[in-house]
């Protein structure tokens, strides 16, 4: 077999340009597959990690049943109270937001300002937030005219670079910056400002803020699914209608993963098409090679090659094309994946993102490309094996 392998390698080297071109076809397909799998699995684990930090003991309630429905009745303090009364809920907190004018010196910008309750906010997101703080601290009990600002607010939107301790004006009220968030990679998030709810209410004259989200923290040991059901029941009773959505951390994770899943399937289909094109390329090259070498095959038969030996030479040739394409493809995919990782970490703001480059993926892709080569080479190899030696020797 080793000898047949060498023979196949010599055949490939003899038709170097064509072999390389065929290999490129496979490189494209395999690198696409490996890249897509490694990037999308990287996203999946980043999201899982994010939710792990976030905690499984959190339930979110948002107004509306889906994104398509009419603007629903907002969630209010009454709803927060109702949720807090549910068994298994430790405490709950609402988050509200409005676009408000923010001024630094003479520059004015309309920005999204969130109102949050300092104690619960820090209890809820404290540890979580620390990983997302570029500088400064989170809210504390008793904080009022202080703000945590998004990364762009601090470094991009105003001509001055804002630091912790700097004063900004929201609706012409003095606020002191106590924290700056890391880049989130989302334009809207990076351009937002968070202030304590008390200050928010005062600033906008809202006694009854309309909450965008209510977050409930569960008591230790409470089952998220059960509590979510209870919250649903309670709120429905309270509001008279089910015009809201209750999500556990797992629900959110599943939603995101299913979206990611659809995306990966679409991309994978495209990658598989690329592989099929590559495989057809191998088949074409091998058929050409068999036709060109008809007389040589006749000679090999004349000097005593069996059908299987002839077949093996051509199968191995096709397999080498496949495997070579696979290995080079992987090398390209690994470099592109690392580049993607760099871009996502540095420009996308997801500092904990890592592309997936496990041994199973790399080994799997290498074996897969070899197998693709063998399969694509099967019919041409069979044709070569079954050539009539007399006819083959006569071939011009």
């Amino acid at each position: 077999m080793n000898d047949l392998f060498n023979l196949a390698l010599k055949g490939l080297r003899h038709r170097r340009l064509r072999s390389i071109l065929t290999i490129i076809g496979i490189i494209i397909g395999i690198s696409a597959i490996v890249l897509l799998v490694s990037v999308s699995r990287g996203f999946q684990s980043a999201i899982t990690q994010l939710f792990d930090q976030f905690g499984a003991d959190i339930i979110m309630v948002i107004p509306g049943t889906d994104m398509m429905s009419m603007p629903p009745n907002p969630l209010t303090d009454r709803d927060v109270k109702a949720i807090e009364r549910v068994n298994g809920v430790d405490y709950a907190d609402g988050m509200t937001a409005k676009t408000v004018e923010v001024r630094v010196g003479h520059e004015r910008r309309p920005l999204i300002v969130y109102g949050v309750t300092p104690e619960t906010f820090t209890k809820l997101y404290g540890t979580f937030l620390e990983t997302f703080m570029e500088d400064g601290r989170s809210f504390r009990e008793g904080d009022k005219y202080v703000a945590i600002v998004g990364n762009d607010v601090a470094h991009k939107l105003f001509s001055d670079d804002l630091e912790v301790g700097r004063t900004i004006y929201i609706n012409d009220r003095r606020f002191r910056i106590i924290g700056i968030l890391k880049r989130a990679g989302d334009e809207q998030d990076d351009a937002s400002v968070m202030i304590p709810l008390e200050a928010y209410k005062e600033l906008l004259g809202e006694k009854e803020p309309a909450y965008l989200t209510i977050v409930a923290k569960l008591s230790p040991g409470a089952d998220p699914e059960e509590v979510a059901e209870e919250i649903k029941k309670k709120l429905k009773q309270e509001r008279g209608t089910e015009d809201f959505t209750v999500m556990t951390t797992e629900d959110m994770l599943n939603t995101i993963n299913s979206i990611l899943g659809v995306v990966s399937i679409v991309v994978l289909v495209i990658a598989i098409i690329a592989i099929i094109v590559g495989a057809v390329g191998i088949m074409n090259t091998m058929y050409m090679s068999v036709t060109e070498r008809t007389r040589e095959i006749g000679v090999m038969k004349a000097v005593g090659a069996t059908k299987w030996q002839i077949m093996a030479i051509f199968l191995v040739e096709a397999g080498i094309i496949g495997a070579a394409g696979g290995l080079f493809g992987e090398a390209i995919a690994v470099s592109l994946a690392k580049l993607t990782e760099y871009a996502i970490v540095n420009y996308g703001g997801i500092s904990y993102y890592h592309v997936y480059l496990g041994l199973d993926l790399l080994l799997g892709a290498a074996v897969f490309s070899f197998v693709v080569g063998i399969i694509a080479g099967y019919l041409p190899a069979k044709r070569a094996a079954e050539l009539d030696p007399v006819e083959a020797l006569r071939y011009e």
Binding site: K10, M300, A302, G304, T306, K307
Partner: protein, 226 residues
């Protein structure tokens, strides 16, 4: 009983009205150590006869006996294995593999026979030295002259030490002087006990053989023994 016996062999291509008769009842015995020339005009069936003798082809009717054993009913692979041990081919076009150097070309029949690499190389070198190409071991076919290529082909034919060497117009592509040298190698091999069968349309080459088989229209016209 010869080393090869062809008994009333017919080779018919196609069927019915379209049928072409390449061989029409040919019988021929080739003895161990013979130097036979099969001569005839093109289309006479001489190549078909050689292919049948060389186990490359099977007769439509009739029998081929190799050392008394009927080989006309063997499968393709069985014939391939039989062929590699008993027959060596030398073609008019040399037919060397362009991707292999002289040494590797000579090794090829041994490779298919499963001879280990070291042994293959040793024997291939000896054979190339024997045909006077000891200094051209690593040259590729396109770096060799016609005569040199044919000598590599002869070395290749001898690789598995077969009893029979079949030459299909082995001097057809060479000038007279080179052709004579190649013929001389065949004669030397014959002296060492190899059975040689050469197919040619050239009476001058046929004259060199001990036995001349004349073939025309798929039938043997006559056999001249010297």
């Amino acid at each position: 009983m010869g080393i090869i016996s062809v008994r009333d062999v017919w080779k018919i291509y196609g069927e019915g009205d379209a049928a072409t008769y390449a061989l029409r009842g040919v019988s021929l015995d080739i003895e161990q150590g013979d130097f036979v020339a099969i001569i005839g005009p093109s289309g006479s069936g001489k190549s078909t006869l050689m292919h049948i003798i060389g186990l490359l082809d099977t007769p439509t009717k009739g029998k081929v006996l190799l050392k008394g054993k009927d080989v006309s009913t063997l499968s393709d692979d069985e014939r391939a294995i039989m062929r590699r041990k008993t027959v060596g081919f030398v073609f008019q076009q040399y037919n060397l593999s362009p991707s292999l150097n002289a040494l590797e070309n000579v090794e090829l029949p041994m490779l298919f026979a499963g001879v280990p690499k070291r042994e293959r190389e040793k024997r291939a070198k000896e054979l190339l030295e024997m045909v006077g190409l000891g200094h051209r071991l690593y040259h590729y076919p396109n770096q060799l002259s016609g005569g040199q290529q044919q000598r590599v082909a002869i070395a290749r034919a001898l690789a598995n030490d077969p009893e029979i060497i079949l030459g299909d117009e082995p001097t057809g592509n060479l000038d007279t002087k080179t052709g004579e040298k190649i013929l001389k190698i065949f004669k030397d091999l014959n002296k060492r006990g190899k059975t040689i069968v050469i197919v040619t349309h050239d009476p001058e080459i046929a004259e060199e053989a001990e036995k001349i088989v004349k073939i025309r229209d798929g039938k043997i016209e006559g056999v001249i023994e010297k």
